[in-house]
């Protein structure tokens, strides 16, 4: 008979020691302060000027498309205020068609000096990400970019397994090398996969730009879309570390939240809504994202198309959407003084039946409003708008 290495009488003692060891490890582990509830960054330290602006289209065009990629979709802009040469970066996915294995994430930079977009480069592909994660990825898409306090670019990308978009997970990649004069294009490294749900982490997607927080962190809007649809928000530290999650499982048939801050604690999020609803829906939180309530729907028609929102340094709100009446053949923009009552639409793009101008992205850079959007699923169009004060508000 084999002799036991540990006499039975000692086993409870060993168990007790292990239990105490886990307790000590728990004690010395620094307790995280609840990251949810931190105030949002406001666009400007000065209050809204009260001036009503009119918006003038200053320039527009197409961002160069990689030659071997006839299809493009889901662009996202990020401002680079401290970069010596470039003021904006645009990311989008391109390949033979959406959700094809050859789809990759492309990037182009807006050169301040040359006033043009640099030739596009590939920055993320499914093979590199899959190899780094040790988990296979079938397709990637929907890049969302953010700049942390170390001026590193972070990209959040949807990666799918078996089952297409419904089996998507959100992947996090980060700039690994600082841009230099000789090598202005950033290289990216994989950080990991965001833990957003228990069931094999399935069916979580990202689309809209993050909302900045006062401490330099951000809130990343996400959504779940397998069967039901509901929005989620993930909190990140100023260095881009995942900190917490709020899943709005009580909100149904709504996805791709587009958050903006009214003030530090009062936030709004516009939603891409699904039928039978046909008006833009909006969520509100008065405690910096801890609790969210559905507000009365806005008087703007919209169904199943992405919206984009942005709060400008002037305090003004901007919103881009596809009106329901024209499906995705028309893309319009509105401005507002309170985020709830919106101006008549400004035309961004429109075309005939079957055309598509969709998935807008809004960004403020160099005192101009920049818009990018999907152009006929063949490329990414951009526009630059300038605010012209129209009427001074009465004192």
């Amino acid at each position: 008979m084999r002799k036991d290495w540990l006499p039975p009488s000692l086993r409870p003692v060993v168990w007790l020691l292990v239990w105490l060891l886990v307790g000590v490890a728990l004690l010395i582990r620094p307790q995280q302060i609840n990251p949810i509830g931190r105030p949002a960054a406001l666009p400007s330290s000065s209050p809204p000027s009260g001036a009503v602006n009119t918006w003038v289209l200053e320039a527009q065009g197409m961002i160069g498309q990689p030659k071997e990629a006839p299809a493009a979709h889901a662009s996202n802009l990020v401002a680079l205020p401290d970069h010596p040469s470039y003021s904006l970066a645009a990311f989008w996915f391109a390949g033979s068609k959406e959700a094809r294995p050859d789809v990759r994430i492309a990037m182009s930079l807006w050169s301040r000096q040359q006033q043009t977009w640099t030739p596009p480069v590939w920055v993320v592909d499914r093979h590199t990400v899959g190899a780094a994660l040790g988990k296979g990825i079938l397709h990637i898409g929907n890049p969302v970019a953010w700049l942390d306090r170390q001026q590193r670019l972070h990209l959040f990308v949807v990666g799918t397994g078996l089952g297409g978009w419904a089996a998507a997970r959100v992947l996090h990649v980060r700039q690994s090398t600082a841009a230099t004069a000789n090598s202005p294009l950033p290289a990216f490294e994989v950080v990991g996969q965001l833990p957003l749900g228990w069931f094999w982490n399935l069916s979580h997607l990202v689309r809209h730009s993050p909302m900045p927080l006062a401490d330099g962190g951000m809130v990343l809007p996400l959504h779940f879309e397998l069967g039901g649809h509901y929005p989620l928000f993930a909190w990140f530290s100023p260095d881009g570390e995942f900190q917490g999650l709020r899943r709005l499982t009580h909100i149904h048939q709504a996805l791709q939240p587009a958050p903006v801050a009214v003030d530090g604690n009062h936030w709004l999020a516009y939603l891409r809504t699904l039928g039978p609803r046909d008006k833009l829906q909006v969520l509100s939180s008065t405690d910096a994202g801890q609790h969210w309530q559905l507000q009365p729907e806005l008087a703007l028609s919209q169904r199943d198309s992405a919206v984009a929102s942005l709060r400008l340094p002037s305090g003004e709100w901007m919103l881009a959407r596809n009106p329901l009446e024209r499906v995705r053949t028309q893309l319009v923009m509105h401005h507002s003084q309170d985020g709830l009552n919106w101006s008549p639409p400004l035309m961004l793009a429109e075309g005939g039946s079957g055309s598509e101008y969709s998935y807008p992205s809004l960004r403020w850079s160099d005192d101009r409003l920049w818009v990018s959007y999907t152009h006929l699923r063949q490329g990414i169009a951009w526009q630059r708008w300038r605010a012209v004060p129209l009427v001074k508000a009465s004192p």
Binding site: D4, W19, Q32, G134, G136, P195, W198, F199, F224, F242
Partner: protein
């Protein structure tokens, strides 16, 4: 060291190198266990050695196996890892070995499997947004770890004092070890629910519950 740098306890998510490590190790344990289940039990110890070596060889030679498993099933939980190790330990040492306790009944109770099934259903409904609460996000909170630590202590003390079946001690030990590993590493995802239960283990719990709970009760009713 990338891993040591990433073991900074203030970070919620495990570093990528650690994720990869646990992904490989847990799948190796699961594949070994699957192999052992398929082999005749002529020698328990050599069964585990052979199956572990075979699984390791498969993962090394066919390098697409691990990414393919990860693509569909992600990384199994630390509880699955601990359960595989516990089964291997029992098999190698022989069925007579008890952790402690006076009874030799080591097969897990159908009630425990039922509890696992129930928790999994709650997490599944939560994932699909069918519950009014957000259960999964609780898995990022420190208090959940303290709760598990107290409950596992209470469980084992009760089992020891009342001389309950030995499966209590084994199950509580697995839970404590999975929790301890999570505290140390945050693996596999940074959320403690993913450390305690994965959908694969949950499906296996259904099988065990039906096999040893429902079917045996039906059999005994008819006998």
């Amino acid at each position: 060291m990338n891993i040591l740098h990433g073991l900074n306890a203030s970070l919620l998510l495990p570093p990528l190198a650690l994720q990869q490590l646990f992904h490989a190790v847990i799948w190796l344990a699961v594949l070994s266990w699957l192999g052992v289940q398929c082999l005749p039990s002529y020698d328990r110890r050599w069964r585990w050695v052979m199956c572990s070596a075979a699984a390791l060889l498969v993962l090394l030679v066919w390098q697409s196996v691990l990414p393919a498993l990860g693509m569909v099933f992600q990384t199994p939980s630390l509880m699955t890892l601990c359960a595989c190790l516990a089964v291997a330990w029992s098999d190698i040492k022989g069925p007579s070995v008890r952790l402690f306790g006076n009874h030799n009944h080591t097969r897990l109770s159908p009630w425990l499997w039922f509890a696992v099934v129930l928790i999994g259903w709650c997490l599944l409904l939560d994932a699909f947004g069918m519950l009014p609460w957000d259960i999964y996000s609780l898995g990022f909170e420190h208090r959940m770890l303290w709760l598990a630590w107290w409950l596992s202590g209470l469980w084992i003390t009760t089992a020891y004092v009342l001389s309950l079946h030995d499966w209590h001690a084994k199950a509580a030990t697995c839970w404590l070890l999975a929790t301890g590993l999570f505290v140390a590493t945050h693996a596999p995802s940074g959320n403690v629910w993913d450390a305690w239960l994965d959908p694969g283990l949950w499906l296996f719990a259904h099988y065990q519950w039906i096999k040893y709970g429902l079917l045996q009760r039906t059999r005994s009713n008819h006998s």
